[in-house]
Symmetry: C2
Subunit: 386 residues, 2 copies
């Protein structure tokens, strides 16, 4: 887990104000979910309700004096860019969800304990990000777009752990330079300057990837022949099969997770709710999402253990498959079995590659509890009026 000295109150003295509607999972560092009813209330999540995932205390940085350093290891070229200088590049805007790789971990935990914050389905939110493309920044610094093989872009933030190491991870240089991958250096979120919790004044946005790659409080961009050597990069966010233990896991051999699988969740009703039945139907709604630019093409919901499936209505961004980075909201009018006093609702999404979710968590279980995308299931009481 993250190396933070929780005893030193001074570290936490300047934490920003947080909306009391957020569901706090850990206070120091601050990790909090957006409640499900707020996920479906807005297609673009209001900034104050966007889920928060911190590894360390929140750094306080000034937009006016902030500089991001770009280092090209091979040539030794180094540039320091102010936000003002960045903004001379073409303006870029992207609607994208960010999702923690551990979203929905709590459901996987029921199969067998896993290590990590016990997220329910609230570690995903959606926003419109604006700034400039990382591609344009790198090209302006002389990076050769035809020489990407085996190269990486290390992204380092200003947040710092108890050993003095700043938060860092990396992405392939090919991704950073792929126009379709639309990797951003964002200064704004839903038209406002980034809030402190979301990386003020500068944050990478790597859409379709686990949110950990979207480094906040961005200080340094290094083009390197190596991946980031940080423990966040080397010892986390890698996937194993269910038989791999902490003892047998070979982190160096497992590929880093750079793209998220298709997932979905029911946000309303919630577990245990009494739901009104009208003409044999109930209403349900939630979100669906797939990483790597995949567009969700269908969401199916069942109230009878998969014997029948009803296709949900989708609310989506217009971006095409392969460059579709926003989430999808869905609603459905769902038939429920006659006379039943309760029902278990299931949801599964299918994306434009026609991948869909596994039924159960058993065979995707992994020590770190990431990529937890089996069918979401919610049991509700059926309230029939006379």
């Amino acid at each position: 887990d993250d190396l933070v000295d929780h005893s030193d109150d001074e570290l936490w003295a300047t934490e920003p104000y947080r909306d009391p509607r957020l569901i706090v999972k850990t206070a120091k560092p601050f990790n909090a979910e957006i409640p499900p009813e707020y996920q479906i209330a807005h297609f673009d999540t209001p900034n104050e309700l966007f889920y928060v995932r911190q590894h360390m205390p929140v750094p306080e940085l000034e937009a006016g004096s902030h500089r991001v350093r770009v280092v090209v290891e091979e040539t030794g070229a180094t540039r320091e860019l102010s936000l003002h200088q960045l903004q001379r590049l073409p303006a870029a805007t992207l609607r994208a969800a960010l999702m923690c790789a551990g979203n929905r971990r709590s459901e996987m935990h029921h199969v067998k304990p896993v290590k990590g914050i016990s997220w329910a389905g609230g570690a995903i939110s959606n926003a419109v990000w604006s700034g400039v493309y990382l591609r344009d920044v790198l090209l302006s610094c002389g990076v050769d777009p035809d020489d990407t093989e085996g190269k990486h872009v290390i992204l380092t933030g200003a947040d710092i752990d108890a050993t003095g190491q700043k938060f860092s991870t990396s992405i392939p240089l090919a991704t950073a330079l792929d126009a379709g991958a639309r990797v951003l250096l964002a200064t704004h979120m839903n038209g406002e300057p980034l809030p402190p919790d979301h990386g003020r004044p500068l944050r990478a946005i790597v859409p379709g990837a686990p949110a950990v790659r979207s480094v906040k409080w961005l200080e340094c961009i290094t083009v390197s022949s190596e991946e980031s050597s940080s423990h966040w990069h080397k010892k986390d966010y890698r996937a194993f099969n269910p038989s791999t233990t902490w003892e047998s896991a070979e982190f160096e051999r497992a590929p880093p997770v750079y793209s998220l699988p298709v997932t979905s969740a029911i946000c309303a009703p919630r577990h245990g709710d009494a739901v009104p039945v009208r003409d044999g139907h109930i209403e349900a709604s939630g979100y669906a999402y797939s990483g790597g630019g995949a567009r969700v093409v269908r969401v199916d919901v069942s109230a009878d253990g998969g014997r029948s499936w009803t296709e949900a209505r989708l609310q989506q961004d217009a971006a095409p498959h392969r460059e579709h980075y926003a989430w999808t909201l869905w609603t459905v009018r769902l038939p429920v079995p006659d006379h039943a006093a309760q029902a278990e609702l299931w949801v599964k999404a299918t994306d434009g590659n026609f991948n869909t979710q596994p039924e159960r968590f058993d065979h995707i279980w992994n020590i770190r509890g990431i990529l937890s995308n089996a069918y979401h299931r919610v049991t509700v009481r059926l309230h029939r009026s006379r």
Copy 2:
């Protein structure tokens, strides 16, 4: 189903010679699987063993006199290109598997009958294709790469049905022009001129898509504001949920399948085989594949109903994730339960988007039996020597 007049023997008089090792599913039109032992015997399938999927009789075309017509509907521009003229464009080579969208349909059929050729796992093979990029052809014909929205490329072959309609389907223009999508016009397969069964003398290769998009005996390429209007395009290769019937299916509303989900199969041992157990282990091998350029990153095999999983060794092409179009071959030394007389082997693959396969066919069942990618399961007898 395809409209072919099976009574007219003349239609079939010039069918090419076929290797007797192919497993014939239908004779007229000719549809045949590669036997599983030959899938794993070569990383690049020998041409004569490559599975064959025909809709109609095989046209006889001459490479020397063949012309492909390129039509840009918006401008009315039309060009006829000989193979010789095509070959003035930069040479392009691509290792790619082709897989029928109905591969492994026979397993889905067991849940509930589906309509289509009852393919086992032999409707996938792998080859090195060479020719030129469709992108280069279109650019040389003046197609504007910045004006792709809502546009399609209709691909029409020389094969013709009983109503006089030539085989046709389409792909998005954005895909055709995306350098990473690597859509090819191929003249050669594994270094040889295309065999008649695989499109001699010119075939589109749309890697990562259902093989139906890789139109054989290519005669015409039309840039259009409409998708192909053929029944192969409009009334097939679309996906529905398990509750959708032939009566309720809205083909116009369902998105065409342009990319295939992650799948895998055990090629050896086969169902019912007696397998030698050595030191508590057996050997197994097979293939894995994911469409849309996704690279397979892990193959897990179980001999105990998913209680334990063993990671297989992978043989792969070097292409990176997002541009990885070849299949993956795998082998595993698998522990089997003590004292058991038989075992059911399960395989599942995970791709670079960390999507994996559904456990069972029940909830991906669809009327047409396509995208049949649940875990592959093979029951074998365990032969223990003294």
